[in-house]
């Protein structure tokens, strides 16, 4: 898990350096990092860094059971994400929607897409260009927490904004 | 004794003819009549309900009247149907004691009673919630029958002390320790108490009976019953079967019931296709005097409800039932050989169907 996160960070860093297509190469990598501990040393202090976006701003919003509407906390967080994206126009993002395991596979895939789209629409409404934002749903395929209890489910019902390097053709 | 028996037999015969001929006597032989009756009684139920409280002590737990339940799937009717068919009614004394053991026999199936209840209620949509217990995987299947539509039967296997039921239980057991519900399809119905009595006489009386007449009927009945039983018992010991005409008195309800139960216990429909389970076959068989079916005489007299192929499978299952359970000879009164030398058995799986 740790290594995956490192990998993603590495990718992102690479992307910043101009390796623009790389985020699609490791297609199954999902951002599994928690929002707690700082990963790459020092970078989260830089407000222009992806690490700052991920940790200081927060890269994910959570949803209620079977819902895809944003709550107040979610809107506040997404407003900050939008501001960051507006001032760091080199980045694009893929918004990943997820669901908890209480649901059938297809439905959860569709539900995750709704969540991702809710985030996307909000960011667009705050001025971020739609061309910079893609959505994808993993349904219940990639839970963050793996216990079978609401405490875990709550963290799994999420939409995560994963930054990537500049616009690709 | 011989003379006494003869007298008794003659008296009995007279009594019978009086009973039959006396009451505007129709001759439709359809065994289905039984069901019709239960349906009627179901209607009656509402009216009776109040009164029947008193007779609660009756053989209630018997599963009974299918049609009744079907008609009124609400929970209330559930508790009711039992009364709807007080089979052993008139002579109440024997049933009571008999029943207790029956119930006792059921006890080993603890989960049954509650499930049944829910099964019966379940019309279509709502399946009762599964139990809280978190059984290990294998066990869970049990929830199944809940939503089953043809529930009434299920109730029956609850009360079925027959060995077949026992076997199903063991099979279910592998899968069903904690499980709430079990046993998918109904097992055999408990053998009815071979009520010796209600025979024909009292019945025909009632045929013409009016409300006022009923009381008398009920009273006479005991006497008649007693007489009949005695007569038949006598007849049994007596007569060697005269080969010519039907000898001895006709088969009693109890005797027929015993045969029915004997065949039922070997009639395994578990491996039949849904098509075959929708096919009623009439199977003709001749028995030798020792009650053993003569294999080569077993044939399908007719079938209805399914394709030829399905009828073939249904017939094969019926044939197996007859041969297997008749292997040692059915227990039939030799004196009445001519009455049971040729038998037509209708195997109607309607109530065993799973669709």
């Amino acid at each position: 898990m740790k290594s995956i996160r490192t990998l993603i960070l590495a990718c992102t860093v690479a992307a910043v350096a101009g390796c623009s297509n790389s985020y699609l190469d490791d297609t199954n990598s999902v951002d599994l990092g928690g929002s707690g501990v700082g990963g790459a040393a020092g970078s989260s202090a830089d407000p222009r860094s992806p690490a700052y976006f991920q940790e200081a701003i927060g890269d994910r919003v959570l949803f209620a059971v079977d819902q895809s509407t944003l709550d107040d906390a979610g809107r506040v967080l997404l407003t900050a994400q939008a501001d960051w994206l507006m001032s760091n126009t080199d980045y694009t993002a893929v918004i990943e929607g997820h669901a908890d395991e209480q649901g059938t596979r297809e439905y959860n895939l569709a539900l995750g897409a709704r969540r991702a789209n809710a985030v996307r629409e909000y960011l667009v409404s705050r001025g971020v260009s739609g061309a910079r934002l893609k959505t994808v749903s993993f349904g219940k395929e990639r839970p963050l927490e793996i216990c079978s209890a609401e405490s875990c489910y709550a963290k799994n019902r999420r939409a995560v904004t994963v930054l990537a390097g500049g616009l690709t053709g | 004794m011989q003379t006494g028996t003869k007298i008794s037999a003659v008296a009995h015969g007279l009594l019978l003819s009086w009973a039959f001929l006396g009451g505007a006597f129709r001759s439709d032989p359809l065994p289905f009549e039984v069901q019709d009756v239960t349906m009627i009684s179901a209607e009656e139920f509402d009216r009776i309900a109040g009164r029947s409280a008193a007779s609660e002590a009756q053989p209630a737990p018997e599963p009974t009247a299918e049609p009744a339940v079907e008609q009124r799937p609400d929970p209330v009717s559930e508790s009711v149907p039992p009364k709807a068919r007080p089979e052993p009614t008139p002579p109440p004394p024997p049933p009571a004691p008999e029943i207790t053991p029956e119930i006792a026999a059921l006890v080993p199936e603890p989960p049954s009673p509650p499930q049944r209840a829910s099964e019966r209620i379940a019309p279509e949509p709502v399946a009762p919630p599964p139990p809280e217990a978190r059984p290990d995987p294998v066990e869970r299947e049990q929830v199944t029958p809940e939503a089953q539509a043809d529930t009434p039967q299920e109730a029956q296997d609850a009360t079925a002390p027959e060995e077949a039921a026992a076997e199903i239980v063991t099979e279910a057991e592998e899968t069903a320790v904690l499980a709430p519900t079990r046993s998918p399809r109904p097992a055999a119905r408990p053998p009815r108490r071979p009520t010796p009595a209600p025979e024909t006489a009292p019945a025909s009386e009632t045929e013409t009976a009016t409300d006022t007449a009923t009381e008398t009927a009920a009273k006479t009945e005991d006497a008649v019953t007693a007489a009949l039983t005695e007569a038949m018992a006598g007849a049994r010991d007596a007569t060697p079967a005269a080969p010519a005409a039907p000898s001895g008195p006709p088969m009693s309800a109890g005797e027929k019931e015993a045969l029915r139960v004997a065949v039922s216990s070997c009639w395994n429909v578990g491996s039949l296709s849904s098509d075959a389970l929708a096919t009623t076959v009439v199977v003709a068989v001749s028995l030798s005097q020792d009650g053993k079916p003569q294999g080569e005489t077993i044939r399908m007299a007719s079938h209805s409800g399914g394709s030829e192929a399905a009828a073939k499978q249904a017939f094969e299952a019926a044939r197996r039932a007859i041969i297997r359970c008749g292997a040692k000879g059915f227990d039939l009164p030799v004196a009445k050989y001519d009455h049971w030398r040729n038998i037509e058995m209708t195997f109607n799986p309607e109530r065993m169907r799973i669709k």
């Binding site: - | 039984v34 009627i40 199944t144 209600p198 039922s264 001519d338 038998i343």
Partner: protein, 440 residues
Amino acid sequence: MTRFLLCFLLGWAFVAHSAAAQDGGPLRIEITEGVIEPMPFAVPDFVPDSPAATEVASQIARVIAADLAGTGLFREIPAEAHIGRVSDFNAPIQFADWKAINAQALVTGAVSSSGDRVTVRFRVWDVFSGAELGNGLQFAGSRDGWRRMAHKVADAVYSRITGEGGYFDSRVAFVSESGPKNDRKKRLAIMDYDGANVQYLTDSASIVLAPRFSPSGDRVLYTSFETGFPRIYVLDVGKVQRRVLESKEGTMSFAPRFAPDGQTVVFSLEQGGNTDIYIMDITSGGTTRLTSSPSIDTAPSYSPDGSRIVFESDRSGTQQLYIMPASGGDAKRISFGQGRYGTPVWSPRGDLVAFTKQNKGRFHIGVMRTDGREERLLTASFLDEGPTWAPNGRVIMFARETKGARGETTLYTVDITGRNLRPVRTPGGASDPSWSPLQN
């Protein structure tokens, strides 16, 4: 009460009377109650024509017995209990020996082997009547294919006794799972219905979901995240070659299934957060939209005649089942019980729809008629999901996942009566089963 008794007595009068009235005719009785129990059968080892065939002859008999016993409709009487021996396929059967151990059905057979060719002959007997069920039959094939020959024999035996088609000579496509829940590796795999002969069709680099067999069993549709986004692929099972189906940039496509024509694919397409049902001609790639509600419409499945589609939708507020014409148009809701209903699958017989139901925190596999009547739940657990029908419409396979961090997925089969729930042995975890049609 008296009236009541009257009715009752009246009934008895008729019954008893009917007998009495049959002067000289046959005694008539009606049997309406039977038993339901597995039918005991015996499959003595098939007779080999040469020492070279001895092993395979025995293996074939074992597979036949396992197939039959696995249905729950039959119970094998093990060889140790046999009194009789079958050492000559053509010799008359000593039925008494088999009656004595209460074998009701007997399967006898012979196997001959020459080079790589194996030939299997068999007969099915109704022991108690001494009659043969059907006629002797023979299958021939390569030695490697002995399992399939055994399954074919078992299908024939099953069919002759029960009157319905078998399902043993069939395969199951599924997703093989390994690793922890938050980093699960998924591979597309295929196996015999009984878990033998597992082959992997993809590696574990990408998430793969829900394979679905074509009507002829030669191809499999599935969803893969290979590009980072869910898209539908079609894979030729024989050649293990795949290609991605057309899809529009910025959309997700998933939940594909073949129409009975093997040419049309029905699937879900998500665009802008909304999921609808579309069909596509698999050759031309041309698509047609079938639903356009602002709800999640997914998990479509065709009726066997191809005229209708059952699917799930949350248009009412919760996941429920609907049926619409295959060309789209008015959808009629069929599920009305408590809870949520998803993943409907039309039975090959056309009479039932199998589904996943969630209610009060538990999952069930169930069946209902296509008009929603007679709902019957077959299973209950923490998470049961994704039913698929055996070719004969009598058995359902599905995936069960256990609770918790170390939860594992296992395939199970269950009879549509709800009896005979059994795990399918797979190497490692398995989910998303899809049962093939019977092989030729």
